[in-house]
Amino acid sequence: MSELLKFHFDVDGTDFTSAGQASVQVKKNLRQLGIPPEIIRRVSIAMYEGEINMVIHAGGGEADVIVTETAIEIRLHDHGPGIKNIDQAMQEGFSTATDTIRTLGFGAGMGLPNMKRYSDDIEIHSELGVGTDIIMRVNLT
């Protein structure tokens, strides 16, 4: 599986209002590559949720999007507090977001479930006090 293209983004953890910029940029890039709209939509949603999570919980991080002939892979990396209980975090409606975040329309506990729903494959590695790595793949074929 050869790597055709790679996009790298630093996700700013201090500016909540600009969260989502990397996902919007990825969407544009994938459109230019002629990727089918439904695939782009799934990649964008999965990545946006990841980006928002990094801003809300981890003070930012890094995102890489790798396009190969068979799939689009999104790699997220942060040095946040880590996820205490991944099974619990994967449940719809479970959230540790603050009330302030909730008044902005986030914190519905749909972040990780949406990431799972819209990708074909998701791997989560998290260590408390160290950070979280997430790899999501959306198949092209």
Binding site: F16, T17, S18, A19, G20, Q21, S23, V24, K27, P37, R41, S44, I45, Y48, E49, I52, L104, G105, F106, A108, M110, G111, N114, R117, Y118
Partner: protein, 108 residues
């Protein structure tokens, strides 16, 4: 029906209209952004009472035809400036979400 035709026929106000010819195919109502992101269809009028900057990213990623901010919720100048830059149509109405959706449903 396009967004500009909707404005004319439904009497909604255009706060920003960088893409007047976007085609409308449906309506989605919601304020929880992750929910909207996952469930709204491209071409929907997204009716919400949220007015923070993040609604622009959600509209852009979900590819909605426009955001319709209901109940006369006030929008900041910052939001409108960014919406123009990002090519996102933002409409306003004094109606509630239900009344606005019913009105749109009769037109499209």
């Amino acid at each position: 029906m396009t967004v500009s035709e909707l404005i004319e026929k439904a009497g909604f106000k255009a706060a920003t209209l960088p893409e007047p010819d976007k085609e409308i195919t449906g309506v989605y109502i919601g304020d929880l952004l992750s929910w909207v992101m996952g469930r709204a269809n491209s071409g929907d009028v997204w009716i919400t009472i949220m007015s923070n900057m993040n609604i622009l990213a959600v509209a852009s990623l979900a590819d909605t035809a426009c955001i319709l901010v209901a109940e006369d919720v006030e929008l900041s100048q910052d939001l409108l400036t960014t919406a123009k830059q990002k090519n996102i149509n933002v409409l306003l109405t004094e109606l509630g979400a239900y009344e606005a959706a019913v009105k749109i449903s009769k037109l499209i």
